[in-house]
């Protein structure tokens, strides 16, 4: 069954936070947009992640993008009419050893040059400021205006805002083929929907690797499932987002209390995830291991109960750096995928930057470290059916 192709300035494949925010910001720049999403907007990594709106701890060259995004988080109500429950509660990263406190202090010193101001606190000071920390905590780094938001709400909110501003957002529409024909990209979906545009932005998350490979730009990307959980609601007494920083991977747990009182937590070991299943299962032992670590960092958490666990499919690029920017081989083609479990905070900024890049040809925010050319090997291709 063939339908008449939908023509637009930009076709976006993938309706997670990256795609939905890009659609919104492209509309603000007067570009016509059609977005095709296989399921519902924000259902995959965008909807299952921890919800951290955090700049500290990032790979330093990512900070300019993170700053731009943080600014947008603070203006969400004016921009899209809702706040996705973003609150700038502050974010504190704590450590268990003096050696690691030194490492975190070094990061703070370096980050200052990148525009991020952090406060280093020793053991007594961090416990005085935040009396819930356990005795093993020897210090931490505090970011006063970082915070958290609700990942289940953010991407759908951008999707609705994009729609209201005139973007065509088509859900339950699985893309099966992307081809460049002449100056246009022709994107075909399983249900016969066809979109045509001179610019294509691929935001398909963990599934992005198959799409970039179709254009001769394969990347080493693996799916992984975060281990997430939430407790019952308790009085709102833990304000900042808390994370443990440690060279020992299983110690790296994090939690945040929402205003309603529930505490969301994650970290530690990740679960296997399968691209064809589009869903990942939590390994119960990983949750139990998290509980052990959470009791170390904040002993009072041992009084609570886990109500629900979940996982999802996140895309991890081998060098832990996302794929973002123009294609190295095909003009008019752009990518924003593979955010390695740390994309939520960046989402609004990614959408804004990609819109600027696509609409004007360049962006004021440095994103070159994320360029797909760093994996260049294979010859150029004009696209293919997706395996």
């Amino acid at each position: 069954m063939t339908k008449p192709p939908i023509a637009a300035d930009v076709v976006i494949v993938g309706g997670g936070l990256m795609g939905a925010s890009a659609a919104f910001f492209l509309r603000r720049r007067g570009k016509s947009v059609v977005l095709l999403e296989r399921g519902l907007v924000g259902q995959q990594a965008s909807g299952v992640n921890f919800g951290n709106v955090r700049r500290q701890g990032r790979y330093l060259p990512q900070l300019p993008l993170a700053h731009r995004s943080r600014d947008i988080w603070g203006r969400l109500p004016q921009l899209i009419g809702e706040d996705a429950e973003f609150i700038p509660t502050g974010h504190v990263r704590v450590v268990y050893t003096e050696a690691h406190l030194a490492a975190v202090a070094k990061y703070a010193a370096d980050a200052k040059g990148w525009g991020l101001d952090l406060e280093i606190l020793g053991g007594d000071a961090v416990r005085k400021r935040f009396p819930f920390f356990g005795p093993e905590v020897v210090g931490g780094s505090y970011a006063p205006v970082d915070g958290h938001a609700n990942p289940r709400l953010a991407a759908p909110a951008f999707g609705r805002a994009a729609k209201r501003s005139g973007a065509q957002v088509i859900e339950n529409c699985e893309v099966i083929d992307i081809q460049k024909e002449g100056t246009d990209f022709r994107v075909t979906a399983k249900d016969g929907t066809v979109a045509k545009a001179p610019a294509a932005l691929l935001c398909s998350g963990a599934w992005g690797g198959a799409m970039s490979a179709a254009f001769g730009e394969p990347v080493p990307i693996q799916p992984n499932g975060p281990t997430m959980a939430v407790t019952e609601p308790v009085p709102y007494g833990i304000i900042p987002v808390v994370g443990v920083s440690s060279p020992i991977a299983h110690e790296v747990v994090y939690f945040r209390q929402i205003k309603r009182g529930n505490i969301v937590f994650g970290g530690g070991r990740r679960n296997p995830a399968y691209l064809d299943e589009r869903r990942a299962q939590v390994t119960p032992q990983f949750t139990l291991a998290q509980l052990h670590e959470l009791r170390r960092v904040a002993p009072a958490l041992s009084k609570l109960h886990v109500l629900r666990t979940w996982s999802g499919v996140e895309g991890y690029v081998a060098d832990d750096i996302p794929i973002m920017g123009p294609s190295a081989k095909v003009s008019g083609l752009y990518y924003a995928f593979g955010f390695c479990g740390h994309g939520f905070q960046l989402g609004p900024g990614v959408g804004d930057v990609m819109a600027e890049l696509i609409a004007t040809g360049s962006t004021t925010t440095p994103i070159d470290p994320f360029h797909i050319r760093r994996f260049a090997a294979a010859p150029a291709r004009t696209g293919a059916a997706l395996a």
Binding site: F132, V234, P235, Y236, P299, A300, K303, H305
Partner: protein
């Protein structure tokens, strides 16, 4: 306003135990669940976090999770599935926001 909710119909020939509810000493019987021990003396177990109304349990079989009460140590106890013991100290009001603090 806060009169006992449950009515004992039989099995009253059991040994007495004492508990405290919101600081007040009350009596119950050995073999009572915590829910019965409390609702034999007061009309509710807790407050709904989001609706504001008082709650007094719902399913009595450990499925609804509506009967969790705090004890004075900050532990949460599911009242319908816990046997009441002499000396228990319960509260029907939420903890203070300083609940996570160690000091």
């Amino acid at each position: 306003m806060n009169s006992p909710r449950f009515v004992r119909l039989a099995e009253t020939g059991r040994a007495e135990i004492k508990l405290r509810i919101d600081g007040l000493e009350v009596r119950a019987l050995e073999g009572d669940t915590l829910m019965v021990a409390m609702l034999g003396n007061v009309g509710h177990l807790r407050h709904s976090e989001f609706g504001g109304e008082v709650r007094s349990g719902f399913c009595l079989m450990g499925a609804c999770q509506d009967c969790w009460v705090y004890d004075e140590q900050g532990d949460r106890i599911r009242a319908c599935s816990t046997v009441a013991r002499d000396g228990m100290q319960l509260r029907t009001t939420p903890q203070e926001v300083t609940w996570p603090n160690l000091a």
